[in-house]
């Protein structure tokens, strides 16, 4: 294509000018990619820390069986700490069917039936309010990663073998093998042996959770094979909200909630962070576009003789426009390819040199080909957009004027 050849020659002849604007575009695109990857990595890391080891979606029975707790409260006020209103929520029956149906959708990385209840852990004179969790341990492990977070003892829970958190163990001076009593607000009591101690990273959990096996909790709370809720993790954490809406339609008998609903503050913080990042990126892109535009505007003046002669020799006005649009696109393409490499280099440097005290990377940054592809496409279109005005001016150049003035 003739216009492409002319565009290439024009860029090649304006060596310094082309190099400068290419560097400008490259820097802009590098910043774009770096910022994007950084903010993206940071957010993924934050979200992972927040919900990586907790259920993304939880379902519980719509009707709760009101049971008076207050009558049975011993020593300390419990209600504020204990999540559920009663000693146990109204049980969900036939839950195996529900679990199967959920698993069949293929959307969930784990579907874990749970029993939530409140109780007291008693050792001698000391008694602490706890949240009793009945887990299918293997399934729950996929969500909470308990096995890897065990600090002492072994990973098992049964009818009378429990896992407890580090804080609770410390307060009651419990260690693996220790025996304590677990009492429900309704007065059911079971003697339990501590099989392991975990640190799930959150003080509230480490202080209050006592993990039993599912049958153990069923017996303790008299649920007769029922459970009180179901917890799931999904592949794409940000899809949790949407999936929750689907579940609400399909299983209206349950109350569904997503992690997003529980973490509205975090989400709004992430959103404003993204917004400011996008704003910066938009302005960088605008500056790059204006740079291309001004360079091409100067080029139109510099090349006015050539344009005039090409028009005399029969190039159409569209042909002249194309010469400059192609230049814009080429600058965008070249600049963004260089910029992609620089951006990749910046991120590599960041990951190599910016580290925590222990020498680990601050947070993981994953660079897919997508960000580079998007940058290149955006830069090419920005280049063409930037060239639009100069191209118009070039096309409107009056051949007679150019030729007359030597």
């Amino acid at each position: 294509m003739f216009e492409l050849t002319v565009a290439l020659r024009f860029l090649k002849e304006g060596r310094l000018q082309s190099l400068l604007i290419l560097s400008g575009i490259a820097i802009g695109i590098a910043v774009l990619i770096f910022l994007n990857a950084l903010i993206g990595g940071l957010q993924v890391d934050l979200v992972n820390q927040t919900v990586g080891s907790s259920p993304h979606i939880a379902g519980r029975n719509r009707e709760q069986e009101p049971r008076s707790v207050l009558g049975k409260v011993q020593q300390e006020p419990v209600v504020s700490i204990v999540a559920t209103a009663g000693s146990a929520e109204k049980p969900l029956r036939n839950w195996t069917n529900l679990q199967e149906q959920l698993a069949e959708t293929g959307k969930f990385t784990s579907v874990s039936p749970v029993i939530n209840g409140s109780g007291f852990m008693i050792l001698g004179e000391r008694s602490l309010p706890v949240i009793v969790k009945g887990f299918d341990l293997e399934e729950a492990n996929k969500i909470y990663d308990i096995r890897n977070k065990l600090v002492d003892g072994e990973f098992s829970a049964g009818r009378s073998a429990v896992l407890i958190g580090t804080e609770l163990a410390e307060e009651l001076k419990l260690s693996p093998g220790s025996i304590a009593r677990l009492t429900t607000p309704t007065g059911e009591t079971v003697t339990v042996t501590v099989s392991g101690i975990f640190d799930l990273g959150a003080q509230a959990i480490n202080r209050s959770w006592v993990i039993l096996s599912l049958p153990g909790a069923q017996t303790l709370f008299g649920l007769q094979g029922g459970i009180t809720g179901i917890e799931m993790q999904v592949e794409d954490v940000f899809a949790a909200d949407q999936i929750t809406r689907i579940l609400e339609n399909r299983f209206p008998e349950l109350i569904w909630s997503s992690w997003q609903e529980e973490n509205a503050n975090l989400l709004s913080a992430l959103n404003s962070q993204s917004a400011s990042s996008y704003l910066i990126q938009a302005f960088v892109l605008l500056a790059v576009t204006m740079g291309i535009s001004s360079v091409l505007a100067v080029s139109v003046v510099q090349k006015s003789k050539q344009i005039g002669i090409l028009k005399a020799l029969g190039i159409t006005t569209e042909g002249v426009s194309r010469i400059f649009l192609i230049q814009g696109a080429l600058l965008g393409l070249g600049g963004s390819i260089i910029g992609s490499m620089v951006g990749w280099g910046l991120i590599t440097l960041f990951l190599t040199f910016v580290r925590t005290e222990t020498g680990e990377a601050l947070f993981p940054i994953t660079l897919g080909p997508g960000i580079f592809l998007v940058s290149v496409v955006v830069a090419v279109f920005a280049g063409m957009g930037a060239a639009a005005l100069p191209a118009r001016r070039a096309a409107q150049l009056n051949t007679v004027e150019v030729i007359k003035n030597g």
Partner: protein, 266 residues
């Protein structure tokens, strides 16, 4: 000979508030193969006339016909196409594209017209043309690396590459030294004879005008004289080609050496 280009009542006015009339009631026809000089003082409107004939400029009034096609009715892009296929251009300031080699420059009109890279036979034609104008050994040089006369030779080859019926030249030797001027003149005339190409040359160089078959003299935007030179005495030719003011003042400016008293030797 058939009329190749004809101008009917061409007028050209510049400005909207203060109107300057550059051309008025110009009626001209050019036949195929003619070798015509348009002469006149600077400001007489001769360049404007050439620009209108070459469709680079549009007349304010009147019409131009190429054979039976009314050029004044065509759009910009149709005119561009028309120019590309039927006209060759030679300008005073050479105007090669400095980004391209001499050979590439010659091929540009083909490239524009066909929209694709020239095939081998066109490249061969371009090389032959460069050879014809004596530039065979410089065809791969950047057009900025060759002298003015050489650039004008390349421009002449470029004007020929699409085999146009008409070549329009605006002061083709205006920025060349006298030796080169003679050579370029000779070349143009040879091409006219060899390719039967019509030449319309705007010039104030009487050497060129004297070589032409026909001279059109423009004074104040009107055709002052339009005559065939063939058959005229050399001396008569030179007298006729003298500037108007010399003839009217009856040789008063002879002392300044501006008007010929006979055939000049320089």
């Amino acid at each position: 000979m058939a009329d190749q280009i004809s101008l009917k009542n061409i007028g050209k006015t510049y400005g909207t508030k203060v109107k300057t009339t550059v051309l008025q009631d110009v009626n001209l026809t050019f036949a195929r193969g003619e070798y015509v000089a348009i002469i006149g003082q600077s400001g007489s409107g001769k360049s404007t006339l050439l620009n209108i004939i070459s469709t680079l400029d549009r007349p304010t009034s009147g019409e131009i016909y190429a054979e039976d096609k009314n050029l004044t009715e065509l759009t910009e892009n149709e005119l561009a196409r028309f120019r590309n296929q039927t006209m060759g251009f030679i300008f005073q300031f050479h105007y090669l594209l400095p980004e391209f080699s001499a050979l590439d420059n010659v091929l540009i009109p083909y490239w524009i017209g066909a929209g694709r890279k020239p095939p081998p036979d066109k490249v061969k034609l371009a090389k032959n043309l460069l050879e014809r104008v004596g530039m065979a050994d410089r065809m791969y040089n950047k057009s900025t690396d060759i002298s003015g006369g050489q650039q004008q030779r390349v421009a002449i080859a470029r004007a020929l590459v699409n085999r146009p019926g008409i070549i329009l030249a605006d002061e083709p030797t205006g920025s060349l030294d006298s030796q080169t001027t003679v050579e370029v003149n000779k070349l143009l005339r040879e091409i006219n004879k060899d390719f039967k190409t019509t030449f319309i040359i705007v010039t104030h160089d009487r050497h060129i005008a004297a070589e032409c078959d026909r001279v059109v003299e423009i004074v104040d935007g009107r055709i002052h004289k339009d005559y065939l030179t063939s058959g005229l005495e050399e001396n008569k030719k030179w007298q006729d080609l003298a500037p108007v003011y010399c003839r009217e003042s009856n040789g008063d400016c002879n002392t300044a050496g501006m008007c010929p008293s006979g055939k000049e030797t320089g």
